[in-house]
């Protein structure tokens, strides 16, 4: 089963996927695309990935978390393609009998995702330029966005 999607993530579906009568706490994390007015405005981010590896890596991350918090149930979705400002690029839901485990498991997954997921983003600027984003450094201008944002 794939954790990657090209359509908006349904938070309700994700919460339902991890819910259950024995799990009383659910922690959800959403990462949303931020605007950057200082850089002339960001209209969206184009996400691309090494799909097969990203999916395998997410499987491994969920398996690790499942081993560490055996009573938890966790689901994750990551967007690919164009994600507009304020939309969620990633959503994680972790449910557990007790809230501490739900928080910790959710946190574990997002930290592992940030460190390990082979996914890249190109910031689409309001002026029509596009930049590959290196979260650890400076973005570099690489030219006009491709493909152009849909109308």
């Amino acid at each position: 089963m794939t954790h990657l999607t090209r359509v908006p993530i349904s938070i309700d579906d994700l919460i339902r996927a991890v819910g259950g009568p024995e799990r009383g706490g659910t922690c959800v994390f959403l990462g949303t695309v931020r605007d950057a007015p200082a850089d002339g405005g960001v209209t969206g981010i184009e996400y691309s990935g090494y799909d097969t590896m990203a999916d395998a890596e997410l499987d491994r991350i969920l398996a690790e978390a499942g081993k560490r918090w055996p009573e938890s149930r966790i689901a994750v979705r990551h967007r690919l393609g164009l994600v507009e400002t304020e939309e969620a690029s990633i959503a994680i839901a972790a449910a557990a009998p007790h809230r501490t485990d739900a928080f910790d498991a959710c946190r574990y997954v997002i930290e592992a995702v940030k460190q390990r997921l082979p996914i890249w983003k190109k910031e689409l600027r309001a002026d029509g330029s596009a930049l590959w984003v290196d979260p650890h450094g400076r973005p570099a201008v690489v030219g006009p966005p491709s493909p152009p944002p849909p109308v």
Binding site: G31, L117, P118, G137
Partner: protein, 82 residues
């Protein structure tokens, strides 16, 4: 001679000018050997960092990891998932 498939992503694909290529090399060989061969084959990849992030068969590896015939080697720009 053995063959490994090499994949490039995002900014590295732009530098390489392609998304996949095949590299031939004699075993034993490591990811570092693959990177060296790629630099010879695709001049654009000389702009890649000395020690790029790499994966073999969908798993992160260090540059001294061995590669085998038929392996899929990927060179990964700085990760930006999440």
């Amino acid at each position: 001679m053995s063959t490994v498939r090499v994949r490039f992503f995002a900014s590295y694909a732009e530098l390489a000018g392609c998304e996949t290529t095949a590299v031939e090399l004699s075993l034993p060989a490591t990811v570092r050997d693959v990177v060296r061969r790629v630099r010879e084959q695709l001049p654009g990849t000389r702009a890649l960092p000395e020690r790029p992030l790499a994966a073999v068969n969908l798993r992160h590896v260090k540059l001294d990891a061995p590669v085998g015939d038929g392996d899929e080697v990927a060179l990964l720009p700085p990760l930006a998932g999440g």
